[in-house]
Amino acid sequence: MAVTLNRALDALTGWLVGSIGDDAACGYALAAILQAGMLLNLVAISGLVFIWLERKIAGRIQDRLGPTRTGGRFGWLQTIADGLKLLCKEDLMPGKADWLLFRLAPYIGLAASLSAFLALPFSGMPHPFVAQRLDVAVFFVLAVLGLEVFSVILAGYSSASKWSLFGAMREAAQVVSYEVPLGLCAVTPVMLAGSMDLVTIGDAQQGGFWNWYLLHSPFAFITFGVYFTCATASVNRAPFDLAEAESELVGGFHTEYSGLRWSLFFLAEYGSMMLVSLLAAILFLGGWHGVLPLGLGSGGWLEALLGTGIGGYLGALLGLVLLLTKGLLLVIFMMWARWSLPRLRIDQVMTTCLKYCTPIAAVCFLGATLWQASLPNGLLLRPYNAELLRAQAAGPVATPPADVLIVDTAGGRP
């Protein structure tokens, strides 16, 4: 997207201010601002929607109505009203707090949550909507997501409150340990696709739900379950919300926060929720591809009808809608779990991670590898492989050199 957008903006700026000088620089700046703005708005608006949705879902689960007044029948504007209220609240800070760290902590969490979206693609080839396409996107997203723990630790420490400190301690222990199984689970799709590039991983699952990595093998299915559990834990959602745990720790790490700073923590939390859900959708649920082969991608009817330009972009946009829908469903699932389940105890959370999630993830990774090695074409349905089809159409394939062959086998699909 960066390159395409940059090319377009470059032309625009070149046409507008052609004489000012280095128009490439302007183009980059404009493209960067535009993309950052779009991502920021995506997180912020989805945060608004999620908070409203959470209240509405909680209400419905609890046999109530949820918000009904602000903004018409369904309380659409409830979040904005809440936000306005939070804006007007006094920004309190405990007297003994470390003022610098106390004030910075919410921004760090928000920054980590936002910057992980940088490498997250929203549609596949040939028009990948991604701010910065990285070869190691999976790794980058997980790495940046792990930084969110700093905001909680620093908030907990700098608040000069014992309850906050307890929350921070729990959070640090929990997030650091849950990164291990989370990474192990994310490795399975990486292995199957033979790439850490999220665009490649998503595109490798095109052609209907039977090609999703969720249904690749029983092992991949379990891996998805473990991934989602660990993702829930790493974004601090119930039943793993020990860092907040209002019935034990009052408010945990954000006990002493108020007003806008407090709401920034929640924006970061909802951003992370969305991030791990989108990541799950890309890694296991076919990403931007439909449940059935819709032919929106390259070589589909949409491109044949409208041409690669408009048709391709339209297909990518529809893919974006599909991806967001899948992510939204996963977020709703998280909300459902939150309002139904009691909270685990800290030692049980650790046991779940170290004694169950990590070994299960490791065994499933091994199982999926063996499955892929023994049944490269799947059990029932032949997986979609564009390159293979293309190669077959082109004629007999030349035998690659021995080393390359080994690399390919290790990388996944032949």
């Binding site: 909680a58 689960i61 609890q62 046999d63 109530r64 014992k162 309850w163 307890f166 301690m169 729990r170 119930a238 039943p239 919300d241 020990l242 745990a245 209002e246 019935s247 034990e248 720790l249 009052v250 309002w339 139904s340 389940l341 009691p342 909270r343 685990l344 105890r345 800290i346 030692d347 049980q348």
Partner: protein, 402 residues
Amino acid sequence: MQTSVEDPRVLEFDVRTDEMLVNMGPQHPSTHGVLRLVLRTDGEVVSEVTPHIGYLHRCAEKIGENLAVRQWIPYTDRMDYLAAMNMNLGWSLAVEKLHGYAPPERGRHLRVIIAELGRIASHLVGMGAYGLDLGSFSPFLYAFREREKILDLFEQACGARLTYSYLTPGGATADLPAGWTTRCLKMLDEFEPILPEYHTLLTSNAIFVKRTCKVGVLTADRAISYGVSGPVLRGSGVDFDLRRDGEPCYTQMYAGYDFQVIVERAGSYPATTGAPPPPPEAVLGDSWHRFYVRMLEVVQSISLVRQAIALYEAEEGLDHGQPFKLGAKLPVGETYLETEAPRGQMGFYLVSLGQPNPWRARARSSSFCNLSVIGEIGRGCLIADIPAIVGSLDIVMGEIDR
């Protein structure tokens, strides 16, 4: 950081950890009111729990000495405000014992209906709030939804929803209105099929079982020596219920009723229809058993209310027992009577010098004794277990502080 070996029992390579004093409450979300617990913690492990009470003290007992016995009824409402009917009943029975008075049969059955409905409402709050303590929000609202229906019935009977002042010495302030029993039976018919939902959400939920089993184990000996009562005592396997084992002037209220004391006998509970069996992890006397006893008592109270309604409607005449006159003088003497309130033995002590108002009026609170075990069973558990234990004791601060 220094490594020092102060305690010879701590091994040499141990990193010295500092103990931390944490103040839980009185403004803590899960201490059920204004209870303050001072926790001495080492990391997440609690090495000492000290309850501090008195934040809700309102001198109710002293006020009782300056009021006529019927005037003190509203003050008993505010003791255990979640089971105000049962508080009214306790005081009324104590006064009636001093008078040597027994209400007419219709009034007796009316009291059973009201007292058992109060028990259901109280246990519903205890159940829902316990879910809340463990981080499960929705059961709380489900419980309140059903409690609202009981409160509606109470409102129709006496006009109030929380502090009823309905049962008074002599009987009740008014008879049940026309059609009330039909509505009550309809409510029970709707309520009974919902109970399995609570069991699914809490009793047999895997996380709930993990959080409550083997947490805060109170052995039967210890329970007796601390004087705990009610579901907490029966959860420890002690077969004791004042409705069966109390004084005659209280047990005669339940004469002719068919009910069993909810307690584990030979590894199984009575009246477990619809309830899941105890999980293998649970040990007698832990938080899970205390919760389970309450859930089963709700079923039992439903059956008691049904029996009582049948008996109430079968009674001839309309005499439900007239309240004593406000200025009527008390007989000289003293009396003490304990009743089985939802939270345990609620005792009222009364000394009279022949005035309309008692010379001494005292209350023995069940929650007070139940809370006193927290220092014993809360030691060595994790911080997260403290709300789980306090919730399973199901205390009401208004009753403790009075």
